[in-house]
Subunit: 391 residues, 2 copies
């Protein structure tokens, strides 16, 4: 099947998938009826995504159907969080002596595969993002995929030319880069051991997340605290703690500064942000301050920082809206082809994101496009308060 | 019907209620089947409560069925909140020239009626609380109810001997008191005008919420700001702004200190508290700080207070749990009769509240009982973190 087939309507081969996944036809049909198994569109109609977690298949899992063959690209498993480092490391990693600590970067999570001869970027939700696909195609060495068709490459896409997490955090990323942090087998979703994955990534010249080291479980909490302290100073996000053999699922832990940066960003759009978002970050602060037995002064600083991260952006945003401005998330993308831009516009539209695209600016041999994502709920709610409506 | 009937099983007279309320029998039966119209127990089986809002009947509404007669005690209507005082007052009270400002007290909301010859206290949810019933019986002059059987008396029960909101806020309340803030007609739920209600309350010697004054709409925002400033200093909750004629629904507005006190209390039990609770208080702080155009220094103080109100109680509670203690809400009640105590125990148990009652202590001619309400979710979650589980 070729891209030229794009116009044709592809249907899920329910019997074939049923046999391949060992799921009864009737259940697959039910998933289709309930729109829990959905088809991607355009040239990606051969990719079907699971919207909810179902019989051990995580949401975001993609099934790729090609001329009677099938491939399963498992959804990226949610990484659980340590609230108290020491007990979490001891208990969770009881079966291993040491842990590897890698950086957790703040961008968006992408699974890269080759589909129809082209590197294709699948988002956490199982969509094909046309922008990430163009970028992954430019950034990644396709030989990896040809030599290892059994593997899915997992990476974090970070940098200022990023339409999802528009933070300028990483000094060495001028536009956008793909940091490899996992390789997993198609079908089973089993990961490669840490060093094997890093070696392979190096062979193909991939950018990788930083490995801080391998530590005994005894020394790990103190080492991680020091790493988190340093990462926090430069507003990086945190770490992922991994079993070197990857037999045990990894665990994440983040910096206070990153929590607060999240809150600062979120409270500009206070009514668009999930309430769980606020709650979870606040709880993390509490546990971290407790475990680190902070001095009265450090604790006071943490409280002030928390309060400021919540209130200042909100007050500023209300002030902007009073002046008639509208709060919007400002992001940008940089594309080689205007075709990618139009596909990306359509992609956001289909996802229900309201966005205003500026005219493309030619920069070198690329186009830079500024995008304002409107946060309708916050704008509407705030304006209604100015009009005297009640909460 | 008499209390001696208590043992007998009373059934809702569906046909009678249908005719009285103008609701089809089939819909009433459906409400009963879905457990959205429930019967109180024991001696209060004649009182049925609406669990959800239904055809203009607020949740918490009670229908009282006595020997073929019916009475409707409407649920207390939710009071909406002003986020920005000035526009809210101008818009919401557009049909009146002045507004009355009364104190909003921090306790629990009770509707008092006479049932079976006794003053009976109905909670917001439509339950009869045996403790509040004993207290209301002691605190209120029954003549009011005999002279005005058409009225429901609404009050806030506050004070340290309060099993629901155990704050020691009001210096002039040693045990518990009933502060009248509303009188409404049975059936329609229509309220009495402010001054008429206050005069009637005075005639019967009722304690009333404080009336700060009647202000023109132009002066009200500034006056209220000053009242809120003073109330905040003594950690009182806030105000309710009312149309003197009560033709327009009232509006509430609260002090920052009260928000923060709520948060301090809530974050001791971080995992038992709704996430909306945190979110709503934070948003109020943002709007208040914005409207009052606070100085940089005052704003910084507000941020610090917000952060401290969230983190300190949480860190303290985690520390207590680490030491093997369990966090619990400590409340107390003071009863004349041990029968009330056993009824109240049963009442909490039926509501699914886990509570440990101390032995009653004889104080004068009453019994003081200390109660620890266990916040199971916070205890369990925190202990699991100490055991190394992940979030």
């Amino acid at each position: 099947m070729r891209v030229e087939d794009a116009g044709k309507d592809i249907e899920l081969d329910v019997e074939g998938v049923s046999e391949y996944l060992g799921i009864p036809v009737s259940r697959l049909r039910k998933l289709l009826d309930k729109r829990e198994l959905l088809q991607n569109w355009g040239e990606y109609q051969h990719l079907f995504r699971f919207v909810t977690t179902f019989s051990g298949i995580e949401s975001g899992t993609v099934i790729c159907q090609k001329d009677g063959f099938f491939e399963l690209i498992k959804g990226f498993p949610k990484i659980q969080r340590a609230m108290l480092l020491e007990p979490a490391i001891n208990t969770h990693f009881s079966e291993t002596d040491t842990v590897c600590v890698e950086e957790k970067m703040n961008g968006f999570n992408v699974r890269a595969i080759v589909f129809d001869g082209k590197i294709t970027a699948i988002t956490r939700g199982g969509y094909v993002c046309p922008y990430s696909t163009e970028k992954a195609g430019q950034l990644l060495n396709i030989d990896f995929f040809n030599d290892h068709p059994e593997l899915v490459l997992h990476g974090e896409m970070v940098g200022p030319d990023n339409p999802y997490v528009p933070k300028k955090i990483y000094d060495d990323v001028d536009s956008i880069d793909f940091y490899v942090f996992d390789m997993r087998y198609k079908g089973s979703g089993e990961p490669l051991p840490v060093y094997e994955r890093r070696k392979l990534a190096e062979e193909y010249g991939f950018t990788q997340v930083r490995l801080f080291g391998e530590f005994t479980k005894k020394e790990a909490p103190e080492k991680i605290r020091a790493i988190i302290f340093d990462l926090g100073k430069i507003e990086h996000e945190g770490v992922v703690i991994k079993d070197p053999d990857m037999n045990i699922p990894p665990v994440k832990y983040t910096c206070s500064q990153s929590n607060c940066a999240d809150l600062r960003h979120a409270f500009k759009f206070y009514n668009d942000v999930g309430r769980d978002y606020l709650f979870s970050r606040v709880v993390r602060e509490g546990f971290q301050a407790f475990e680190w037995k902070e001095s009265e002064e450090d604790l006071r600083k943490r409280c002030l920082q928390l309060g400021e991260s919540i209130l200042y952006p909100m007050i500023d945003a209300i002030g902007e809206m009073e002046k008639g401005e509208r709060v919007a998330e400002e992001v940008q993308i940089r594309v080689s082809s205007l075709d990618t831009l139009s596909k990306f516009k359509e992609y956001l539209r289909r996802q229900g994101v309201e966005a205003i695209f500026d005219e493309p600016e030619k920069v070198g041999d690329e186009f830079l496009i500024k995008i304002r994502k409107l946060n309708k709920s916050t704008n509407d709610k705030t304006l209604s308060m100015f009009k005297g409506e009640l909460w």
